[in-house]
C-alpha cells in the first residue's frame, strides 16, 4: 500500500516538520540556474482536476517537472461530470496507463478518499470541496517558519468564510499541530455550525484580535455567499471583517499578512494593504513549488517501492 497525502492530520507534527525540512533543499534547487534534479526520473505524476484551478495545478506540475518526473494533466470539464462518467472508471483508466502519483482536486468533499480506495498509486489531495487542502497548509506553515523561525506559541488569526474553506480546515489542523494558537474571526453565519472539538477560539471582533496577532490569514470571500442568505452584502462583510487600511494600522510591526489567493481586492483585503511588506502572499506562491516538490519526493522518492 503506497503512502498518500489526503489530510494534513495524517502527518502530525513530525510529518509536517519533515516536509518543511526537505522543502529547504528544494528552495535551493529553485534558486539555481537549472532548477532541476533527477530525483523522480521515470516516475509519472498525473493531475486530475475536476475543479478549475490554474495556480495549484501549475504549482504541482512545476514541482513534478523540477523533480524530472513525467507529467499528465486531466482537467475534467463540468460536462463530463454531468454525463455521469464514473469517477471510478476515470481514475482506474488513468492508473492503468501507469501512474505513480495522482493529484486530485474536486468540488466534492471526500473524493480523494474514495479515489484512494480504488487505486494502488499514491493519492495527493489537491483540494476536496470545503474539506481540506493539505499542500496549501504545508506551504503556509513553511512560509511562516521562514519568516518567523517557528510556529510554537504564535498567535494566528484566520479571518473569513471558514465554513466553506478547505484552506481554513487544513490550516487549523496544521497550525495547531505546530504549536500555534488559532483564533477564527468571522460572522456566525460563516463559521461551521459547531466548533466542538476544534482546538481554536472564535471571535466576531476583528479589531480586538488584530493587535495581538502574529499572523493574519485572510480567506477569500466568494460573491455567491451573498445569495445564500449568509451575508446581507459584501460591503457589510468588508466593514466588519475586511483588512482595510485602518485595520492594517492595528497590526504589530512584524505581523504577517497571508492569503491563499486569488485575492478579492477591496473585499477581504484593501488593494493598498495587499502591497505592504507585511504581506507575504507572493512568498506563499513561491514556496508552494518547493513544498510540493518536498511532498512528491517524500511520497515517491524517499521511501522504498511497496
Amino acid at each position: 500500500m503506497t503512502a498518500s497525502l489526503l489530510s494534513v492530520a495524517d502527518l502530525g507534527r513530525d510529518g509536517i516538520e519533515e516536509v518543511m525540512s526537505v522543502s529547504d533543499s528544494f528552495v535551493e534547487v529553485g534558486e539555481r540556474a537549472i532548477p532541476k534534479v533527477p530525483a523522480l526520473r521515470g516516475k509519472t505524476v498525473v493531475s486530475l482536476f475536476y475543479e478549475g484551478s490554474t495556480r495549484t495545478r501549475l504549482s504541482f506540475e512545476t514541482a513534478a517537472r523540477r523533480l524530472s518526473a513525467d507529467v499528465m494533466n486531466f482537467t475534467v470539464s463540468g460536462s463530463s461530470v454531468a454525463k455521469g462518467e464514473s469517477l471510478r472508471d476515470t481514475v482506474q483508466t488513468i492508473e492503468a496507463m501507469g501512474v505513480d502519483a495522482l493529484v486530485v482536486r474536486h468540488s466534492s468533499a471526500g473524493v480523494p478518499w474514495q479515489v484512494a480506495s480504488w487505486v494502488r498509486c499514491s493519492v495527493i489531495n489537491g483540494g476536496d470541496g470545503w474539506h481540506e487542502h493539505p499542500t496549501q497548509a504545508l506551504l503556509d506553515c513553511y512560509t511562516i517558519r521562514r519568516a518567523r523561525g517557528s510556529l510554537d506559541g504564535l498567535r494566528v488569526a484566520i479571518v473569513g468564510d471558514v465554513k466553506h474553506s478547505r484552506v481554513a480546515r487544513s490550516n487549523v489542523l496544521a497550525f495547531t499541530a505546530m504549536g500555534a494558537e488559532v483564533t477564527l474571526v468571522a460572522p456566525p453565519t460563516l463559521l461551521p455550525s459547531t466548533l466542538e472539538g476544534w482546538p481554536v477560539s472564535a471571535s466576531t471582533d476583528l479589531d480586538d484580535v488584530l493587535p495581538k496577532a502574529d499572523v493574519v490569514y485572510l480567506l477569500r470571500l466568494q460573491a455567491e455567499r451573498q445569495t445564500e442568505a449568509l451575508l446581507p452584502s459584501l460591503r457589510e462583510y468588508t466593514a466588519g471583517y475586511g483588512l482595510t487600511r485602518r485595520r492594517a494600522g492595528l497590526l504589530a510591526d512584524d505581523a504577517l499578512v497571508m492569503h491563499p489567493g486569488p485575492m478579492n481586492r477591496g473585499v477581504e483585503i484593501a488593494a493598498e494593504v495587499a502591497e505592504l511588506p507585511s504581506s507575504v502572499v507572493t512568498k506563499q506562491v513561491a514556496n508552494g513549488v518547493a513544498v510540493r516538490m518536498a511532498v512528491l519526493f517524500l511520497l515517491l522518492g524517499s521511501t522504498p517501492a511497496a
Binding site: 455521469g84 464514473s86 469517477l87 471510478r88 474536486h106 466534492s108 468533499a109 471526500g110 473524493v111 478518499w113 474514495q114 476536496d128 470541496g129 470545503w130 474539506h131 481540506e132 478547505r166 480546515r169 461551521p192 455550525s193 459547531t194 466548533l195 466542538e196 472539538g197 476544534w198
Partner: protein, 431 residues
C-alpha cells in the same frame, strides 16, 4: 399449492407469549401447535431446533423500485430479500417512476407481487406525482385495498394540503405516513448538521428539519382525530422527535411511529470515511439521538421497526458523497441488526417487527396474528444465536449498498413460510 409442513423442535413466540411447541401446517394454515407432533406421511419436516417460531415479520417501509428503477431492485428480488429476512409482508413505497399515485400503477405493482415470495402491499402517494401540490386519487387507490399513503422520499411541505389529506383519508379508513423533513431547512444538506459535518466539510441538515414536521403533524393529527384520521411517522431519527411523539401519545393523539435498524445502530461518525453507503435520509445521527430512539423502542413510544430498504445501483453509490443518492439496504439484515444493537430481547423485537406493524398496515390477523389453529401460516423461524458475515455480493437484493458489509451479525432466519409454502429453507430462497 402449499404442501404439508412440520416445524419441529422450536419455541413458538407470538403476542400471547412463548411455549415449546412444534407447528403443523396443512393447506396453507396452521393445523396444530403442540409439543411432540408426530410427522404425518408426506409432510416436509423443517428443523426448528434452537429456534424461535414466530408470525412472519411485516415491513412497513421498503423501496422495491419497480416500476422505473429495475436496475436497482424489482418487486421479485426485493420480495426475495424480504423473505430471507423473515418477512411475510412488505409495504412497497410509491416513489417509483412513475409514482404510485393512481389505480393503474397500484394494479401494476400488485400484479408484480402476486408471484412474489412475500406478500406485497402497496402504499399510494398522498399527492399527484408526489409533488406536494394536489391530492392524488386516494379513494380510487383505496378501492384496490390501499390503506397506507405517503409521499415518502419527501414530506408534504404544505400544512393546508396535509390537513385536507388527513380529513379526506379519514373517510377511507386509511393512515397517512409522513417522511418528516422540512425542505426549507434541509435543502442542500447531505448528513446530520453537527460536529462531524463541520469537521468533514459537508453541508448538514439541522435536526430541526425533522422535528418541525413532527410537531406540525401532531397538531394536525390532534385536530383530525375525531374524524378517525391516523398519522404514522416514518423513520424517526432524533431525540426531539421521539419526545414529541411520547408527549402526543400520552395525551391520546392517534399517532404511530417507526424507526429503522440503521438509526438504532450507526452514528454520523461513520460518515468520516466519505463512503456514500452511509448516506441516508434522514441522516445518521450522533449517539445521543441513537440512544433516545432505542429508549423510544423500549418504552413503547415507537411502535415498529421498519427497514426503509433503499437499493441503489453500485455506480450511483460510487459518486462523490454529496452527489450520491441517499439510502441503504435493510430487508436481509434488519432482524440481526435489531437483535445485535437495539438492546432488546427477541420477544420485544418480534412485537416491533411483526404484530405491531401488521396492525398499523391493517394486515392482522393474516400476518402478525398469534400462531394458532386455523390461522394462515405466515411464519418465520429464527435462529437467534446464528452468527453470520454480511457479504454484499451474496445478498438476494439486486443492489449492494449495505452499511454492514463485512460485519458479523448475530441472528438469522432459517425458514420462512408464506401461506404455508416454505419460501426460505435453511437460509436459501426456494423461489
Amino acid at each position: 399449492m402449499a404442501g404439508d409442513v412440520l416445524l419441529r423442535g422450536g419455541r413458538v413466540v407470538d403476542a400471547t407469549g412463548g411455549r415449546r411447541a412444534d407447528v403443523l401446517v396443512r393447506d396453507g394454515r396452521v393445523a396444530s401447535v403442540e409439543a411432540g407432533i408426530e410427522a404425518p406421511g408426506g409432510v416436509t419436516v423443517l428443523d426448528a431446533g434452537g429456534c424461535v417460531v414466530a408470525p412472519g415479520l411485516v415491513d412497513l417501509h421498503a423501496h422495491l423500485r419497480q416500476p422505473g428503477r429495475e436496475e436497482a431492485e424489482t418487486v421479485e428480488t426485493g420480495a426475495r430479500a424480504a423473505a430471507l429476512g423473515g418477512y411475510t409482508a412488505v409495504v412497497a413505497m410509491p416513489n417509483t417512476e412513475p409514482a404510485i399515485d393512481s389505480a393503474g400503477v397500484v394494479r401494476e405493482v400488485l400484479e408484480l407481487g402476486e408471484r412474489a415470495p412475500c406478500h406485497v402491499l402497496v402504499a399510494g402517494a398522498i399527492t399527484k406525482g408526489r409533488r406536494g401540490e394536489e391530492l392524488a386519487p386516494l379513494a380510487e387507490m383505496a378501492g384496490l385495498g390501499v390503506r397506507l399513503f405517503t409521499d415518502d422520499g419527501r414530506g408534504v411541505q404544505d400544512a393546508r394540503l396535509m390537513l385536507r389529506a388527513l380529513e379526506y383519508a379519514s373517510s377511507l379508513g386509511a393512515t397517512l405516513a409522513q417522511h418528516c423533513e422540512d425542505e426549507s431547512l434541509a435543502a442542500g444538506g447531505h448528513m446530520h448538521e453537527g460536529e462531524w459535518s463541520s469537521r468533514l466539510g459537508l453541508a448538514g441538515v439541522p435536526p430541526e428539519a425533522e422535528q418541525l414536521m413532527v410537531m406540525r403533524d401532531i397538531a394536525l393529527a390532534r385536530r383530525t382525530a375525531a374524524l378517525g384520521a391516523r398519522v404514522h411517522f416514518q423513520h424517526l431519527s432524533t431525540a426531539a422527535s421521539v419526545a414529541l411523539v411520547r408527549a402526543a401519545k400520552s395525551e391520546g393523539v392517534p399517532v404511530t411511529a417507526e424507526v429503522t435498524p440503521h438509526h438504532l445502530s450507526l452514528t454520523d461518525e461513520v460518515v468520516g470515511s466519505y463512503d456514500p453507503v452511509f448516506k441516508v435520509s434522514p441522516p445518521l445521527r450522533p449517539m445521543a439521538d441513537v440512544e433516545a430512539v432505542r429508549a423510544g423502542l423500549a418504552d413503547g413510544t415507537v411502535d415498529a421497526i421498519a427497514t426503509d430498504h433503499a437499493p441503489h445501483a453500485q455506480e450511483e453509490k460510487e459518486r462523490p458523497f454529496d452527489h450520491a443518492p441517499p439510502g441503504m439496504l435493510g430487508l436481509e439484515t434488519a432482524l440481526a441488526v435489531a437483535l445485535t444493537d437495539a438492546g432488546l430481547p427477541l420477544e420485544r423485537l418480534l412485537a416491533l417487527m411483526s404484530w405491531q406493524p401488521a396492525r398499523i398496515a391493517r394486515l392482522e390477523p393474516a400476518h402478525g396474528g398469534p400462531v394458532a389453529e386455523g390461522r394462515p401460516a405466515n411464519l418465520c423461524v429464527i435462529d437467534p444465536a446464528a452468527v453470520w458475515l454480511v457479504e454484499p455480493e451474496r445478498l438476494a437484493s439486486r443492489s449492494r449498498n449495505t452499511p454492514y458489509a463485512g460485519r458479523k451479525l448475530t441472528g438469522r432466519v432459517r425458514h420462512t413460510l408464506l401461506g404455508g409454502e416454505p419460501v426460505v429453507v435453511d437460509g436459501e430462497p426456494q423461489r
